[in-house]
């Protein structure tokens, strides 16, 4: 079972998110992550969905998604040259004894400290999934109080022309 990143371009209308998630759930597939937001065209939204499944399952999901009237385009980004990013916020236990260690990790990962509490810090980082996973692992020994990830967003590199040349 592989993870597939699917970009779904949809009409920016109420209920579209429900249609897409209901369809994926009903066909028995599990959503790993989901990010939705506006695009350069205000009438269009873009969803980036990470679904687990073999190629046949993904093909079936794609075809079923295309049947939704509000879905304009579905692209499986998995095999493309991608820029993929995710944002994470981690609230980590941090009394004065461990703060230097944490700051060091933050530097290594090119993350940022965005809030300083009496016994905790909030760290913000963006990156691809591997980096975010590694960051999470690095902080775990200190004690993670709270953690939130946006889910992956992704874009194909270059334009169609660049990709043909490549």
């Amino acid at each position: 079972m592989n993870k597939h990143t699917i970009a779904i371009t949809v009409e920016n209308r109420p209920g579209v998110l429900t249609r897409v998630t209901t369809l994926i759930r009903r066909r028995g597939y599990n959503i790993d992550s989901l990010a939705v937001g506006a695009t350069e065209d205000p009438t269009v939204s873009r969803m980036t969905v990470v679904v687990e499944g073999d190629d046949a399952i993904i093909e079936q999901v794609t075809k079923q998604l295309y049947k939704l009237i509000d879905v304009i385009k579905v692209v499986d980004l998995t095999k493309e040259h991608l820029v993929a990013r995710e944002l994470i916020l981690i609230k980590v236990k941090a009394d004065h004894t461990v703060r230097p260690d944490i700051v060091q990790i933050v530097d290594i990962f090119r993350a940022r400290i965005v809030d300083i509490g009496r016994t905790s810090l909030i760290v913000e980082a963006t990156g691809d999934q591997r980096k975010i996973d590694a960051l999470e692992d690095a902080f775990r020994p200190f004690g993670i109080l709270e953690l939130v990830r946006t889910g992956k967003v992704a874009m194909i590199r270059g334009t169609g022309e660049d990709n043909r040349r490549r």
Binding site: V10, E11, G15, T18, R19, T22, L23, R26, A56, E59, Q60, K63, Q64, Y66, K67, L68, I69, D70, V71, I72
Partner: protein, 563 residues
């Protein structure tokens, strides 16, 4: 001109060619009903909203047009749900108009408020909630367009009361529908057509497996041409009944769980399977690995998602069945010779015909009743069915000769479908005799629609194959649960003759084989009201042959000897 939302709605319905709607009034649809009062559109007042949905569905299947039903918000809309799911599973074009509480009250748990869009999301092709009166026209236009094009299906439009009541300046917009995310499929891939033609021309043992898509895309004529030109035997699914004349020497009848032995054996032996407008449903295929194991599969369907969903196709063709077959036909070699394949099939037909035994005294064999209906109508009637044994006997023993003459809930298997669907079918085709082949269980699920048939003088003939059991479930209990008839005995039932008479309809009871024909003939003479014939059938008659669930369709029970 100044028009209210509801008046715009009427304008739009007329423009779509709607001549009849099925509905039930209520609080939030008062503005719609007020507009209907002045409209030339005929409204059929049903007795339960489920009846409205099934009647619209029956109308759509019999006519090929979009069926329309109306229900009020909350319970009214919720009562449509089974009917919508039925239409969705069988790809029936339908537009369901539901009232909704005023837009200012939505989300406040107002009286008779239900989130019908949320409820029907997985069982519609699409759904809308109109947000402002200005959107009524475009929404209705889109709803009909989506319902009837590509693979058809039900579309729900939720109409808040205030939006229907509000008056706006209205200028009709005649521009065509444009939807970024939805394009009507045109044309087929020529390369695939050539590949399919080559496979068919080389085939030694081809079979056509035709389904509901053939009827939807009006391709029965093309199927017949292909079958006759290349002498290819044809089996149809339940939804495909009428896609090929059951009287033809090339007809194998229905395949699958209750198909004929010869249809299933032909599938087992074929080297090329031409699947048209079908979805390889589990009731057809049985255990998938043993379904057409040696065949190259050509799969023609309008819905790309159907191809490869249940089984892989060697030559997939996405497109309208009619267009695909028209492209295919000139590339097919005429083959007039009868081959060994035809001999093999003829031999199976001789050895394993459909057959049934003798009844006990005071009982009739249900299969004989269906055969007699066929005999009297010569395949010219429209047959609707309920669901269960009655449905299977109707499919097995009535030889359908044209599309849209068999109206039955295939995918969802909805008991209570037959009577309201018969009402819809009769309104669509008033010149046809319409029979509802029913069971005593199913008919009680929507028996209230007798009132509708009486009010509008709709002469449908309801033939109850009465075995005082929920017969199909009983049969499964007999075969797979050691005869433990857990809650399937329905001997406590109304006197159906008196029930018919209470409504003002005609009721008859028949419990002798020699009276079957006379009763049916008499019923066919009645033109101003429905008739119920309560046929007392052999209580434990079974539907055979039968493939046990999950098994290969070659492993059939029954039908190989006299039961």
């Amino acid at each position: 001109m100044k028009l209210k939302g509801a008046e715009i709605l009427m304008h739009c319905l007329q423009r779509e060619g709607v001549d009849v709607v099925f509905g039930y009034p209520g609080g939030t649809v008062l503005p719609i009903y007020d507009a209907l009062y002045d409209s030339p559109i005929k409204h059929i007042l049903v007795r339960h909203e489920q009846g409205a949905a099934h009647a619209a569905d029956g109308y759509a299947r019999a006519s090929g047009k979009v069926g329309v039903c109306i229900a009020t918000s909350g319970p009214g809309a919720a009562n449509l749900v089974t009917g919508i799911a039925t239409a969705n599973m069988d790809s029936v074009p339908m537009v369901c108009l539901t009232g909704q509480v005023a837009s200012t009250l939505i989300g406040k748990d107002a009286f008779q408020e239900a989130d019908i869009n949320g409820i029907v999301l997985p069982i519609t092709k699409h759904s809308y909630q109109v947000q402002k009166t200005e959107d009524v026209e475009r929404t209705i236009k889109e709803a009909f367009y989506v319902a009837r094009t590509n693979r058809p299906g039900p579309v729900l439009v939720d109409l808040p009361k205030d939006i229907m009541a509000r008056e706006i300046d209205f200028e009709p917009d005649e521009s065509p529908v444009k939807l970024r995310g939805y394009r009507v499929m045109k044309g087929v891939n020529t390369g695939q057509i050539i590949a399919a033609a080559e496979a068919i021309n080389k085939a030694q043992r081809p079979v056509i497996y035709a389904g509901g898509g053939v009827i939807t895309s009006d391709a029965a004529e093309e199927i017949r041409e292909m079958a006759e030109k290349c002498r290819i035997p044809v089996t149809t699914t339940l939804m495909g009944m009428g896609a090929f004349p059951g009287t033809s020497y090339l007809s194998l009848g229905m395949l699958g769980m209750h198909g004929t032995r010869y249809a299933n054996y032909a599938i087992g032996e074929c080297d090329v399977l031409i699947a048209v407008g079908v979805r390889f449903d589990d009731r057809v295929t049985g255990r998938l690995e043993t379904f057409a194991p040696n065949a190259r599969v050509i799969h023609i369907d309008i819905d790309a998602a159907e191809i490869g969903k249940n089984t892989a196709a060697h030559i997939p063709i996405v497109g309208q069945a009619k267009e695909a077959l028209q492209a295919l036909l000139p590339r097919l070699k005429t083959r007039m010779e009868l081959t060994e394949w035809h001999d093999v099939i003829a031999h199976w037909k001789d050895e394993f015909p459909l057959r049934y035994g003798q009844p006990s005294p005071g009982r009739i064999m249900p299969q004989h009743i269906v055969e007699t209906i066929y005999d009297l109508t010569r395949g010219d009637a429209i047959i609707t069915t309920e669901v269960g044994q009655n449905q299977m006997w109707a499919a097995q023993y009535y030889l359908f000769k044209e599309p849209r003459s068999f109206v039955s809930s295939g995918g969802l298997g909805t008991m209570g479908y037959g009577l309201p669907a018969a009402i819809g079918a009769k309104l669509a085709c008033p010149e046809k005799t319409v029979f509802d082949i029913a069971g005593d269980g199913s008919i009680q699920m929507n028996i209230q629609e007798l009132g509708t048939a009486m009010q509008y003088k709709i002469p449908v003939i309801i033939c109850i194959l009465n075995n005082q059991y929920l017969g199909m479930v009983r049969q499964w209990q007999e075969l797979f649960h050691e005869g433990r008839y857990s809650y399937t005995d329905m001997s406590h039932q109304p006197d159906f003759v008196k029930l018919a008479e209470a409504y003002g309809a005609v009721g008859m009871r028949v419990n002798r084989t020699e009276d079957v024909r006379g009763a049916l003939k008499e019923a066919m003479q009645i033109t101003d009201r429905p008739v119920i014939i309560d046929f007392w059938v052999e209580r434990e008659a079974g539907v055979y042959p039968m493939v046990p669930p999950g098994e290969s369709i070659l492993n059939m029970l029954g039908g190989d000897l006299d039961e």
